[in-house]
């Protein structure tokens, strides 16, 4: 049978590829989510450096966002996957380990995605912080809040509110980017589809299935993010 038959191939019964593809989808989600979280942490520091840092910090943050937005993500993934071994192997030798050491592909992929998306996070957080009206910050300070408390109660939540649409875009980007991690052998949706395509000689069927899975995750998470956004702007008067 060499027909285009999504349902017979992707059944959950014996010989069906349903379970494998579902596990792969979870893996895609996990690696994207980890990368997104790492990127968000980098983004907070990056935005802080750009907004409040001195000349040197700002220059570093500017350099980081410019460089990471100007080079292909695939190159960064190669750097982390292969580069980690040139850093880790000598360290491993020091502790008596033999042979090549490298980061597990999940960690290398998540770190690479995190470093790349961190550049976008930085810009989104910085842009959102700029929209927070100065009056709100002054009012918080005037009521005697310490800078940390003012950030936790006023600036932080407001920044998050304005950052939500941008964060949603980054998430969609990261989700699609996670497919690049397949080059390191991590069995996420695309890698699993390659395996399936090879073993059943049905590349079209498997890559269409991969595309559908990505669309499903993208739509479902887009819907969820819209709800979070609606929740965060519930106090805002609409024009």
């Amino acid at each position: 049978m060499n027909d285009f038959a999504l349902f017979t191939v992707f059944g959950f019964g014996a010989g069906g590829w349903g379970p494998a593809m579902s596990v792969a989808a979870v893996m895609t989600f996990a690696v994207a989510m980890t990368g997104f979280a790492i990127g968000a942490i980098i983004g907070v520091f990056g935005a802080w450096a750009k907004v409040a840092g001195g000349g040197a910090l700002r220059a570093i943050a500017d350099g980081y966002t410019t460089v990471l937005r100007g080079i292909p993500d695939l190159l960064v993934i190669y750097l982390f996957y292969f580069g980690s071994s040139s850093v880790l192997t000598p360290i491993g030798r020091l502790f008596g380990a033999q042979g090549f050491l490298s980061l597990p592909s999940f960690l290398a992929g998540a770190l690479a995605i995190g470093i790349v998306s961190g550049a976008y996070h930085t810009e989104v957080f910085r842009g959102a912080y700029k929209i927070v009206s100065r009056g709100e910050i002054e009012a918080a300070r005037a009521t005697g809040m310490s800078p940390v408390l003012a950030f936790r109660r006023v600036t932080g939540p407001l920044t998050l509110r304005f950052a939500m649409p941008g964060l949603g875009n980054i998430w969609q980007l990261v989700l699609k980017e996670s497919s690049l991690v397949s080059v390191t052998g991590l069995v996420e949706i695309l890698r699993q589809s390659e395996i399936g395509a090879g073993s059943l000689k049905q590349p079209f069927t498997f890559y269409v299935a991969a595309a559908i899975l990505y669309m499903l995750i993208a739509s479902a998470s887009g819907w969820a993010l819209q709800h979070v956004e609606n929740h965060l702007i519930r106090g805002l008067r609409r024009a």
Partner: protein
């Protein structure tokens, strides 16, 4: 950091630049054509056409480019009819498959940018053109399109840079452009960091030049936004 190694890395990656640029230029050119077509469908006010364009944009924007590349490159092999068709000489070449996938992808993103540009044209301009007795095509060619291009250019510039970066995915289907050569060199030498720095610099230079070029076109397209040159009295006298 070993500079003599980096120099040799640079010399080995250099031959990949023409392929990177070819992939980018051809797919962007095809993509703009497709994007304009899709944007016109989207704004045609004919429901079925509008929905077709919407569905196209949704599918191509919510799936990863790498999946699209694999689908174009490996997918047709599943169908014997395609394998024996006249399309096969094109579909079996990774070069053309990468260009097709990149063009289809950027067409979807570009159509949204162009749509935004077309919709930003003030209605008064169109009315004025109509009052002058211009036909629909004339209005589009003389008024709407130039204004839309000017409006959409900055966003399209970003898309062009994303496309230059996206050509790196060609390396996954065996194309030896800059990233492909870099990956090969990394796996041969295990010196990922140096090779990465060199390859990254090549992309940064390309993208810097692209940014500059777009700024130049933007400047050239918006003479009305520039302030009039102030006479310093020292200019060369131009013969009348």
């Amino acid at each position: 950091m070993d500079f003599s190694f980096m120099l040799s890395a640079f010399l080995r990656l250099l031959p990949g630049i023409p392929l990177t640029l070819q992939l980018a230029v051809i797919s962007i050119a095809l993509g703009i054509t497709l994007a304009l077509f899709l944007a016109l469908l989207r704004l045609s006010r004919i429901k079925p056409l509008e929905w077709m364009a919407r569905a196209y944009v949704f599918v191509f924007r919510s799936t990863p480019l790498l999946v699209q590349i694999f689908l174009v490159y490996y997918g047709p092999g599943q169908f014997p009819a395609l394998r024996h068709s006249i399309l096969w000489p094109i579909l079996r070449e990774p070069y053309w498959c990468a260009i097709i996938a990149l063009a289809l992808n950027t067409g979807a993103y570009g159509s949204e940018i162009i749509r935004g540009g077309l919709q930003s044209v003030p209605h008064g301009q169109v009315e004025a053109a109509r009052a002058f007795g211009m036909g629909r095509l004339q209005i589009f060619g003389r008024i709407v399109l130039p204004l839309a291009v000017r409006q959409a250019l900055p966003a399209y510039g970003n898309e062009i840079i994303l496309m230059v970066k996206a050509t790196a995915l060609g390396s996954v289907i065996t194309l030896m452009e800059v990233t492909g050569l870099a990956a090969k060199m990394i796996s041969e030498t295990y010196r990922a960091i140096e090779v990465f720095v060199v390859a990254g610099c090549i992309y940064l230079v390309i993208n810097f030049l692209v940014t500059r070029l777009i700024q130049l076109v933007e400047h050239w397209l918006s003479p009305h936004l520039r302030s009039a040159p102030i006479s310093t009295g020292f200019e060369k006298k131009v013969a009348a």
